[in-house]
Amino acid sequence: MAAPSVFQMILCVLALTCALLVVLQRNPVISAISLLGTLFTTGLLYFTLEAYFVGAVQILVYAGAISVLFVFIVMLLDLKPTRVRVPGRAPTIVLGVTAGASFFVLCALSVLPVLKTFGLLDTMSGGLGEAAEGPLAISVLLLSKYMLPFQVTALLLLASIMGVVVLGKRTLPPRVSSFEKRKD
């Protein structure tokens, strides 16, 4: 593959910055907006990789619908900025950072030599044409070879819609909340 262009490197840096902001920010609204930033720059990165359909779908669905849901719910619930230095939280933070860092190191150390062996890191010229990337090619695959996952995902969406509608009803049968039952 060709060397990365300056635009791609800028987009990578932006995506990483926004991802770090999602995780490190105390204010949930800024985290949600940073998630939007990550998803949008990722979509732009798809465009630079000549995957136009996937990029458009990413911006339409991920950055334009899912992220809107996140921002909407955070604003609806009016979450306040959280405190990071909560006592008793230090072991969890250490565990999390260790897990993330060790996963990164493990993958980098194990995947990169494999890629090198198969010659995937050489600067080959790979291009994406309409035939390989366009909506026609993807939908032919989805409707022939991956028909079962496609239908199962459709069922999953239907179940999700029904679940959301049920959970959204305020008129749940009145019962004492279990939080009040426990007296400890």
Binding site: I33, Y52, A56, V57, G64, A65, V68, V71, F72, M75
Partner: protein, 374 residues
Amino acid sequence: MTQTVWSTLLVVVVAIIGMTAIPVMLVVERRGSAWMQRRSGPNRVGFWGLLQPISDAIKLVFKEANLPARAHRFLFILAPALAVIPPFVALAVIPLGGSISINGTEFKMQAIDLSVGLLFFLAITSLHVYSVLAAGWSSNNKFALMGGLRSASQMISYEIVIGIAMVSVVMTYGTLDLREIVRLQEAGAGLPAWGFVLQPLAFLLLWVCSFAETNRLPFDLPEGESELVAGYHTEYAGLTFALFMLGEYVAMLAASAFMATLFLGGYNVPFVSGAQLLSFLNGLGLDLNVSLLPAFVGTTLTVHLGSLVAVAIQLIALLTKTMFFMWVFVWVRWTLPRFRYDQLMDLGWKALLPLGILNIVITMLVTFFLAKGF
């Protein structure tokens, strides 16, 4: 003249089109609404009130652009930017004309030439929701927050209906490329192949939902002047408010251009196909290459005059259709009353969404039986 230079030039052209639409729309809105309400609108500034946008702009610049006491500063300033930028980007993907032949090679009149232009347009207009949410929440004002949340849920609901209407449009044309859709609409004698003949229900759905997407009356509740102070832009004054209005007008322009492209034949002149227009102009004696740079400059830049005039005529055709839709936007705003919020959501989910699905089913059946040679 390389493709990069040409694309940059077209991006500038699109930006200019967007920016000039705003003063035009300001005059049209104020004078047009005045005419509909049997009064005379602003007619003091300039001849027939045509310089009114300039005085509006000067007033807005000199007003204090405030920042509320405990508002979230970053989001408060980001929201107008999020309102202005997506409509311009969406406008850039509309095909403005055929192709101009410069230096012998054909350059297409489309700032962003994507094979999935329709999807890209929907994607960018879906980013408009964030300006409303950010403005509503960061103002630290209950009315603004309520207006913002309401507007966001309204825009998301009607965006879904637009998506469903677009499914049947894509089924009819078989492509997501806006240029190809315009080219397919010049078949036959021109007018009978226009989109609104092939997909009338999708046209109606897109038209109605464009009102909801741009927060125009009758879907005006989030910025309803009499209900919610000014909705999500209550706390904005001066230049930041001007940016919101700018974004709204350019969003209207983008939506109108989109409808004109999909359903009214785009840049096609009615009853005349692009090739016929070009041959007609060539027959008029315009089949010559004009050099744009004087001889002593090193590079040559020749433009085929026939194609240039053809593209100009097509651009005028597109702008005429777009201005028709913009006029209807203004017309409906001063004619219909506002929907109540629950009526609005009922309309979106219980009336328009089933209609969209019905349209998909009908299109599916018709396309299938036509393909089978029924």
